[in-house]
């Protein structure tokens, strides 16, 4: 610490005070309404339907998982960056090994399709292989589908 850290705490207190003050003033000055549709969630002017917390794309979860893995690894690199010169070439070699491991993980996830959203070519082909054994005509979004029909590589059709 190059100086006392207490100004930081004062700064934090000022920031919290400002935020609280703004909230309080707005609460005091704001108008009040209570009409028929005031208590409804906004759904572009129509009456809301369906489940509020329905099913969501699994990819949001995958991104969260990737973040936990890679941000931790990044934290290890922070520790190297600050002592890069003192650690010398030995430290650099260690960092490089770590970096390669990280890169291998990234390439693996990439190849697995964890970074792609929606239906990928691999997923479609896997589904086709599964269907083929059941001997029923394959349809994709209601359209009869044969092997070799060109499909988009990524995203929804």
């Amino acid at each position: 610490m190059t100086g006392a850290a207490w100004p930081l705490l004062v700064h934090l207190a000022v920031a919290i005070g400002l935020a609280a003050g703004m909230m309080a003033v707005s609460h005091l000055l704001g108008e009040r309404h209570r009409e028929r549709a005031t208590g409804e969630p906004y759904e572009s002017g129509i009456v809301g339907t369906g489940e509020l917390r329905g099913r969501l794309s699994i990819n949001f979860y995958v991104v969260g998982l990737l973040f936990v893995i890679f941000d931790l690894e990044a934290a290890f690199l922070f520790a190297w960056a600050i002592v890069a010169v003192e650690a010398g070439w030995a430290g650099y070699a260690g960092m490089l090994v770590f970096l390669v491991l990280l890169g291998v993980g990234l390439v693996y996830e990439w190849r697995q399709g964890a970074l792609d959203w929606g239906r990928t070519r691999r997923a479609i082909e896997r589904a086709l292989a599964a269907r083929e054994s059941s001997r029923r005509p394959v349809t994709l979004a209601g359209v009869p589908f044969e092997r070799g029909t060109p499909v988009g590589t990524k995203g929804r059709r």
Binding site: M1, T2, A4, A5, P7, L8, V10, H11, L12, V14, A15, L18, A19, A20, M22, M23, V25, S26, L29, G30, E31, G39, P41, Y42, E43, S44, G48, G50, R53, N59, F60, V63, G64, L66, F67, F70, D71, A74, F78, W80, A81, I82, A84, V85, A87, G88, W89, A90, Y92, M95, L96, L99, L102, G103, L106, W110, L115, D116, W117, G155
Partner: protein, 319 residues
């Protein structure tokens, strides 16, 4: 002047300056957008339309301060304050000029990164507690976007840390006396700017609040000053990212003839104008493209940048 008085004066000055800059930025942005899109922008209230900011503030204060009955009350109220508090607190470690600055932390860079991570809670909690479909989708998008870009936001800065040998922002500025880091750390600069755009949800990365798809995304259910705080938080974020980029890559307050504070403000303003130019010109990507950029391009790019920077630094100076 004693050390205590100096710190307090800096604190007051910085908070006041930053808040008025954020308010002024609303006007600056609208005028700049108007220039680039060949229209007038706000020009009715007061000279050059400068009164627009004041009028908007008064309007927001008198709007209904509505807490939805279906929302999670405490979280709903807390969420907008988080973004403002974290961004405002980050300014404490930004060195303005020699002798001006709230506090010199020897972990300054890490502190800023930590605060920006905490800022993610604001949008996530806002989206979740609102209990509305648009808000939930916006909050989820915001969460994925912010954590995707956070990973390499820190890594992009590590090249600078390797060159300066310190996390202390003041020492990083001093290390740039012989040359700004924007040259040797060009890749880091590009990655950091992109991450900055994504972290502050500025266009083209404003998918969490994409108005053509999600109405207003995570703040659909917010009104009055609670909405205003998200708004102010976003503009404070733009100033913070610009000031940090200046400090880390463009030599901070360093420059000839003019006083240091003026240099910092000038460079920061150029970067703010760049942010606005991005908004004026770039279209919005699809969400899978957005996370794709982060993981497939920018993360490998920053890792390569870090490895090359480390090797060159060691080769030039020896262990």
């Amino acid at each position: 002047m004693t050390e205590t008085a100096r710190a307090l004066w800096s604190l007051g000055g910085i908070v006041l300056a930053v808040l008025s800059l954020a308010a002024g930025l609303i006007w600056v942005e609208r005028r700049l957008l108007a220039v680039w899109q060949e229209r007038y922008g706000p020009n009715r209230v007061g000279p050059l339309g400068l009164g627009q900011v004041l009028a908007d503030t008064v309007k927001l204060l008198f709007k209904e301060d509505w807490i939805p009955p279906f929302a999670d009350r405490p979280v709903f109220v807390l969420a907008p304050t988080i973004v403002m508090i974290t961004v405002l607190t980050s300014f404490a470690v930004v060195p303005v000029a020699p002798g001006i600055g709230v506090v010199d932390l020897n972990v300054g860079v890490l502190f800023v990164l930590a605060m920006s991570s905490l800022g993610a809670y604001s949008v996530v909690l806002a989206g979740w507690s609102s209990n509305s479909k648009y808000s939930l989708l916006g909050g989820l998008r915001a969460a994925s976007q912010m954590i995707s870009y956070e990973v390499f936001m820190g890594l992009a800065l590590m090249g600078v840390v390797v060159l300066a040998g310190s996390f202390d922002l003041r020492r990083i500025v001093e290390a740039q006396r012989d040359g700004w880091f924007c040259g040797p750390q060009l890749l880091g600069l590009v990655a950091f700017l992109v991450a900055g755009l994504a972290e502050t949800h500025r266009l083209p990365f404003d998918l969490p609040e994409a108005e053509s798809e999600l109405v207003a995304g995570f703040h659909s259910e917010y009104s009055g000053m609670k909405f205003g705080m998200f708004f102010v938080g976003e503009y404070l974020g733009v100033i913070l990212i610009s000031a940090l980029t200046t400090t880390l890559f463009f030599g901070g307050w360093l420059g000839p003839w003019l006083p240091p504070v003026v240099w910092l403000l000038l460079k920061t303003f150029v970067l703010i104008a760049f942010f606005v130019l991005c908004r004026a010109t770039l279209p919005r990507p699809r969400f899978d493209q957005l996370t794709g950029y982060a993981w497939k391009w920018l993360l490998p790019l920053t890792l390569v940048n870090l490895a090359v920077t480390g090797a060159i630094r060691l080769a030039l100076e020896g262990p």
